[in-house]
Every structure is written in C-alpha cells, then in structure tokens.
Symmetry: C2
Subunit: 230 residues, 2 copies
C-alpha cells in the first residue's frame, strides 16, 4: 500500500507517537520489515518537541528513554528552564522523578512538555504505565498543565503538513485510533479515514465526539479509494 | 501544652498523615523527644485504612513504605481486590508502579485507596514527590478516582472522634494546615483553631474557602484559651 501511494505521486508522512527510539531507529526497523520509508517521511513527538524548544528558547531537562536522547543532541540542555517528559520506561525511577519535579518546582512558572498522553500499553511481559500517567503525577505536584506534543495535538498534525508542504484540505489521514488519529487530524482541518484494523474497536463507531469521514476495512482499501479519486 | 491538656481531664487525640512508619514507631520518636503520648492517642491513615478494608472485605495489594507494612499485619492480603497506596518513597519503582497498575486494571471496577493526597514534602536531601502525585498517575491510567484516607478526609476525623468517644461539637481541632487540618475538621462538624506556627502562612488568612474559628499564636496559647473556657 505504501508503494502504491508513492508510485502515484502522492506525498506521504508517517505520524507516530513512538518515543522510545529515535526516528532513525524507528525507520531502520520499518525498512528491515520491507517498508520503503525515509527519516524525512516520519513525524514523531521528539522532533516536534525540538522545534518547539528552539522556537521558544527553551533548554530542557530530559526525562526520556535512553534511546531517544540522540534526538535532542543539537539542543542546549544547560541550565534547564523546562522539563521534557517521554516514555522513559526503566528511567522512571523515584530519583529521576524527584529530580524532574525539583527542576519544575524551582521555576517561577513551571514548563512541562510531554511527548504524549497515553495511559498504558502492552509489552510482551505485561501492561506498562505510559508517559501520560507520569505527566499527571508531575502536573499535580507542580500545579501546572503539561503541553502535549504528539498525537492528538493539533500542532503535531500541523508539523506533518508543513513537512508535506500541503494545506490540510489537500491531505487525508489514515489511522486506527479514533481519538489520537482521527480526532487530531480532523481538528487540524484534514479529512480522516479510520481503518477497521489494529486499535479499532466496533464501539468506536458510536464515539460521542469523533466521527471519521469514512471507515475502510484496511489500509489497502483506503489506498484503493484514494487512488480512484485522483 | 500536651501535659496541661491531659492534666485538665480533657481527652486528646493526635491526628497525623504520617505514612512512612507505624504508629508504634511514630510514638516512640515522640516519646524520645519527651512527649507523653500513647499509641491509642494517635489517629493515622494506615489504621484508618485497615478499618475500611475490614468493613468492606477488601484484600489489599500494598504499595507503601517498608516501615508501614506491619500496620497491615492482621489484614488478609491474598488474591488482592484493591490497591492501598502510601508514601512508598524508595518503593516507588517503575516495576512496583506497573505491578500496582496491573492489579487495578485487572479488576472489573478498580478500587484504589490512598493514604493521603499530599503533593510533595521536604527532606534534608531535597523535595520529594508525595503520595498524591503517584495517586494521580494511577487514577489517570485506570480512569478511577482514589478514595483518600487521611486528612482532610471527613472519615479520618470521624475515626479520631470515635476513638475519643465524643461528638464533633464537643471537640476542638488545633492545627497548622488551613486545608488538611482546619478544613477537614470543620467539614466534620468540629471547631478548629489555626496556630500561626509550622505550615501556617499569612496568606492562609485570606483562604477562599476555609476560615478557622479562631487564630492562635501557638499551641500554648490555644491550650490557655481552651482551659479558660472549661
């Protein structure tokens, strides 16, 4: 399906909330599975956060996964004036959480940037608390609201559109998550297809707030429909 | 001051949110400082939680400080059907938090009991996240609301009154925390004096919701006033 999109001349951007690896590693894994994808075709929370940090002159204290740290290599991290929180996994230690908290509470107006708001996810050895839970802990302790980079943030889809160089009405989002994918893309002015695979649940079709522009059975069918209308 | 209260024949109950030690250890420390206090004169969150667990037939999975575990010695902890969260300090590891989360998310209706809702506190080596922050993390991940045992919960002050065997209108609370002490005691029907020591801040006198029945400069003055009115 990816190949057919590219062969048709359409531009493509993969939007992922992956924050346990750099885009380079993420792309390497996809290429190993046979997907023809380049780093420039991936929008991920860490690069979006880096853009935000640069724009606002913010120097982060990082509480992220070790494998994500290289994404912030070019960013000045001396004398931090904000905290960037990702799915730090084993780095979510009592000491690291207290340290991130102390950086925040020491600021006149704490700035907390979170690379997502997920509640939990499943790994081979069981369910794990996701970044959103730790975000809530720090929000409560510091009485602040985090700025969330990543789906479903409008700014995240806007930066994907900026990469593509197209306005929202000329773009279409295909995704399996009713809120993070469909809701986020629509709020940004894009049309959105929900695939009935992956995270999709039949109950999504009765979601109280979000309704995709159309449902498709899978990615191949989404591509069929899009290419037919060109 | 404690001695004068006791000598007058008034009953006394110390209400603490301490959850890093058993009441036995807490009382041992106070006695070492010269205070004539017995375990029966202390109301603390863990014994209040034990009462609640027994009343509702709940078997806790504990995420608490090692030193607090003996408070739950008599409680059946097999095949847990709730999680009890205290200020676990070094026990707030990634693995322990995931484990508590898995116990909760595995229940049809997760029951989370928190021994407080504090945001943070200060120790000699710096500020630390308190139990409330971890409570918020688990609340968000499981989409539940914790039941808070400890100040300012109404049930906590009620159990102190039950220990004293007096109705709220015959009791008076003396404390330094405008919300946890004064607010909680008043919600329970007690009169409440705020001392201008400890956690007291001048801004407390403009608190939007809570107004003590009177201010006193310190505990000794509070006792003077109370004894004069006997």
């Amino acid at each position: 399906s990816l190949h057919r999109i590219k062969a048709s001349g359409l531009k493509l951007q993969l939007c992922t909330n992956e924050t346990q690896a750099t885009r380079e590693n993420f792309v390497r894994k996809l290429r190993a599975m046979g997907f023809d994808i380049s780093v420039a075709e991936v929008t991920a929370p860490a690069p979006a956060a880096c853009r935000l940090l640069r724009e606002r002159g913010l120097r982060p204290h990082l509480l992220v996964h070790d494998d994500l740290v290289p994404e912030f290599a070019e960013i000045d991290k001396t004398n931090p004036n904000c905290v960037v929180l990702g799915d730090a996994a084993e780095n979510f230690t009592y000491a690291n959480l207290n340290e991130a908290f102390r950086v925040l509470i020491g600021m006149e107006k704490p700035v907390l940037i979170s690379l997502g708001r997920g509640r939990y996810y499943k790994e081979t050895d069981g369910l794990k608390l996701d970044v959103g839970a730790y975000m809530k802990a720090l929000e409560y302790a510091c009485d602040v609201q985090a700025e969330v980079v990543g789906k479903p943030a409008k700014s995240f889809f806007e930066s994907a559109l900026a990469e593509l160089g197209v306005p929202p009405e000329q773009a279409i989002m295909i995704g399996d998550d009713i809120v993070s994918d469909v809701g986020g893309a629509q709020r940004c002015g894009m049309r959105a297809l929900q695939v009935r695979t992956g995270k999709y649940r039949p109950s999504d079709e009765n979601h109280p707030h979000v309704k995709p522009d159309a449902y498709v059975n899978n990615l191949a069918e989404a591509v069929d429909i899009i290419l037919q209308q060109l």
